[in-house]
Symmetry: C2
Subunit: 570 residues, 2 copies
């Protein structure tokens, strides 16, 4: 039954509509149902018509059930993940007169042809029609004929009221008491129980998998981000890797599979060190959410950080002529054994000027568990998603990675493209990122006293592809007039290092400007925009770059600050 | 005397102010004078105050006298160069009682220390204070102590009323009749008399040097732009090069100077062929002029074209370790013998994937005179200015080219930077260009009949640095809603070639979209914006990217079209 706490009348209407269209518990030709959150009382009256136009609602439906890697941020208030242990989540209906179905019967429905059934907490659900809408693609079929619990334990984001509401719409029966007992006997352990402890300063966007960003004002305090507050972006549980038995397998080279121990990786090749900024494709997604709901973690401006990485350069091997891509596979895996994966173009990997590292050090120490211990790929200038952590395998290949994250995620689309029309094959996998900058100080809504007479604005700026940031413009009046910020590429008070060679500017720049408070202004709209040495600029506004996955959010960053008049002078 | 036909009252006021501050004809400590075009009647009353703030007016002054390479486009109506043969230009004042000065006396004033005097058509001018404002820098000193005519013959843009008006302000005397006679005996020949004939379809922005662009609707007709209408951007007269005696000198290599004849260049190295788009840094400058006056040719949207180039690859040589730049010198030179010059980073030149060519063919034929016959540099993905034509010398160097065009031109600045505050050293020379697109059909102001029911929009899209254009978004409603255009990378009806390898997409894409006319609209604001595979986007609007040289104009392109209702239906 579709329900929504805030829309009781809509709920009742939907309940009626629902009963009108239900043909029976075993009917596998189910109809799509409008999510209640999209339905006003009046609109719900037209439900019969709307039902005939299922695709119109796919966006809404798909937004409620997130798939592998496509983690849901439903509603603007979910800035911090609302964690609910799965044992405390209750399904809505407990007493409805659904037929009793055996696990044996459920098991026969594990394909689109025979219907796709799943169980959850004693309920049986026919999700056949939802498969096509699942953002994670047909990976959802892995749960077919069985229980959802082990999958949802992996992707804790499913444990939300909205998701359960949607699921309830697909209910077709109750699992037999005997089978429920059997299921409970199979204890579902929490795969995240071995995740490391994290720094309390982090703003958590999702706990399982763990995704968190540092407070902006901390971010711009250090040119090199301390590892503890370096933004964390995990797709799966942190794998437990034993240093002694760790092996890195490299496939696709002329001599067959090459296997290296950690010791060999560290001692057989010279160590290279680079300072490189990593940024999540979804950094600043929250600004897109303010325009129109997108799918993905509701990142603020701090899904970006800068570190010094040490490891073996990847540009020293010989590579076969037929190869065009280098695929990376992580050791982090889901319940089906599928590992995280991504690939980069071969010419980035083999070009010594590409500075790709098989890194085992971060900021002078072993790479911490959250950042890929013991070895990760560092692909400077390239979106975080290709910097594969807990690296288990490298495959030199004629093809891109076939992983979900390479093929059906981390791509950009036109603002006019929605989940009904999107063709993931039509867009290239994000590699190099565009020019980016943001204001870390002051934060939006801050108050500045008139008596301070001036305001100091701080932030970061970075561009992908090794393009150096050459200028940051700052405006206090919403973009009408601009001044040029001072930039630095070292810790405060330290001399900057030598300029990077052309095309190898991997590290961000921090910037700062102090300006007098405009005499007449009561509020400042502070804006920043950066320009790189290809003279690419940030777009002015968010709506024209809005995209359904909320990636590549790099419009001018805007912060409003109130000027409080000095009481003594009034 | 500052005068302006349109501001007679201002002229009279200025004349008064001028007499108040003139200390004598031989006073080398001259004051800057506000150009009349900036002065309203009321404002001119404050002239005494304004005079004390010389720098405030430098922008205006500098805008009136263009230097080497910084060709002036004063006023929006100067879309086509208003050519005046120098013999017909008259100085304003003929009968004033200035002292008679000998050429010998003039000759003693050829430095900032002793004053900088020049003669022009029998007048003597003390331009000491103007030297610092000359956009071409101290190159103006080359004329010190002598006649301006030979320089102005080279840069015909000086032959404009405004320039003469400004010059007259600096008048300090009349050249003796005897010396005038001697000067006339030295015939100043027109260095442009041997320039080639050009295609009549070209829109001419400046005749001497020749700068012209094709009509937009022709531009998008062909994937490969025919050489005859390929945009022309000359800084100097087209040099006459004898094929038999042509030599290319390459300096800075370990073995000393290498000299190659055209025959050797063509036969001793394999010929490489690439299709690459070239774009002038000033393409679409006219849109910046509409925001606020900039300096430079008033290019429309067609200072960009695409050709197939054949020649020797530059990536096959050996290069010394100390080198970081490759300088190119043209055979085109000014009266002082200074040649056009520019440089590119060494890693672009030596990387085989950089595809830099020493090109001797354009579209399958010898390179035409206007495009660099017999040999030019083709530096794909890089601003036109570095694709040096009539290539005479290559210098492998630790330093960038010291030329005006590398150091003090072709750089981008903040909108808040003006000619008083600009520090050319603070910005990098433009190399790779940012993402660009424009609408070629329909043109601004076109009329579409309602009965046609739909509108077809065409254009081009390209990005620098070998970044492939992956999408063009088109809006008919000023940017509120967007659709994705169809792109092609071959002539219409022909199969596209293979996709370029990553980072080597040198050619533009042409795009097209046909959409129904919105039922209620009376006017369409058609907008396009492109995105490259680094997901860089074009900025929304022009003012925030405005810069004093009017380069890098790549905001969304906007075209307004009127829908004419069908009379029969009214």
């Amino acid at each position: 039954m579709v329900t929504c706490v805030k829309y009781t009348s809509a709920m009742l209407l939907l309940r009626r509509c629902h009963s009108l269209t239900r043909f029976g518990p075993f009917n596998t030709q189910r109809h799509q149902v409008t999510p209640a959150v999209f339905v006003s009382g009046a609109a719900a009256v037209r439900m019969g018509v709307l039902r005939a136009h299922g695709p119109r609602w796919r966006h809404g439906l798909a937004g409620l059930l997130a798939g592998t890697g496509a983690v849901l941020a439903y509603g603007l208030h979910h800035h911090k993940a609302e964690q609910q242990d799965s044992s405390t989540v209750q399904t809505i209906e407990k007493t409805s007169a659904f037929p009793i179905i055996s696990q044996e019967e459920v098991t026969t429905h594990r394909s689109l042809e025979h219907g796709v059934w799943v169980t959850y907490k004693g309920g049986v659900y026919d999700i056949t029609e939802f498969v096509a809408m699942h953002p994670g693609g047909d990976k959802i079929l892995l749960a077919a004929g069985g229980a959802l619990e082990p999958f949802w334990a992996l992707y804790a984001v499913h444990n939300q009221e909205h998701v359960l509401e949607m699921l309830s719409e697909y209910k077709v029966g109750e699992l037999s008491a005997e089978d429920v007992k059997k299921q409970k006997a199979i204890k579902t352990s929490d795969p995240y129980s071995t995740d490391p402890e994290r720094h309390p300063a982090l703003h958590i966007n999702s706990l399982k998998p763990f995704n968190a960003e540092p407070p902006p004002e901390l971010l711009s305090d250090s040119f090199i981000t301390p590892s503890a507050i370096f933004f964390k972006r995990n797709h799966l549980p942190v794998p437990q890797v034993d240093e002694a038995s760790y092996q890195l397998h490299i496939e696709g080279l002329p001599g067959g599979v090459l296997t290296l121990s950690l010791e060999e990786l560290k001692t057989r090749f010279p160590k290279h060190t680079i300072t490189a900024t990593l940024q999540c494709a979804g950094n600043r997604r929250s600004e897109m959410n303010m325009v129109k709901q997108v799918k993905g973690l509701n990142w603020g401006i701090a899904a970006i950080s800068n570190a010094t990485w040490g490891g073996r350069g990847s540009g020293t091997c010989c590579w076969p002529l037929w190869a065009f891509h280098v695929q990376f596979e992580g050791l982090d895996k889901d319940v089906t054994g599928t590992t995280y994966g991504a690939s980069i173009p071969l010419n980035k990997a083999v070009n010594e000027e590409g500075d790709v590292l098989l890194a085992y050090e971060m900021n002078g120490q072993d790479i911490p568990p959250d950042h890929g211990y013991p070895v990760r790929a560092v692909v400077p200038g390239t979106v975080g998603a290709r910097n594969v952590k807990w690296l288990g395998k490298i495959i030199v290949s004629a093809e891109e990675s076939s992983s979900h994250w390479q093929q059906n995620d981390y791509k950009g689309f036109s603002p006019g493209t929605d989940w009904d029309t999107v063709d993931f094959k039509s867009a290239p996998a994000i590699q190099e990122l565009p020019i980016q900058s943001a204001i870390t100080v002051p934060t939006d809504g801050a108050v500045v006293d008139r008596s301070s007479e001036e305001v100091t604005v701080k932030g970061y700026a970075w561009s992908g592809g090794g393009r150096e940031v050459v200028r940051v413009d700052v405006s206090l009046d919403g973009g009408k007039t601009w001044q040029v910020a001072q930039m630095r590429s070292s810790e405060k008070g330290q001399a900057p290092g030598p300029s990077p060679p052309p095309g190898r500017a991997w590290a961000w720049k921090l910037w700062e400007v102090t300006a007098p408070l405009p005499a007449e202004a009561q509020e400042l709209e502070i804006v920043c925009k950066a320009v790189d040495n290809s003279y690419n600029m940030q777009p002015d506004t968010v709506p024209p770059i809005w995209n359904l996955r909320g990636v590549l959010s790099n419009a001018w960053h805007r912060v409003k600050v109130e000027i409080r008049e000095d009481d003594n002078e009034e």
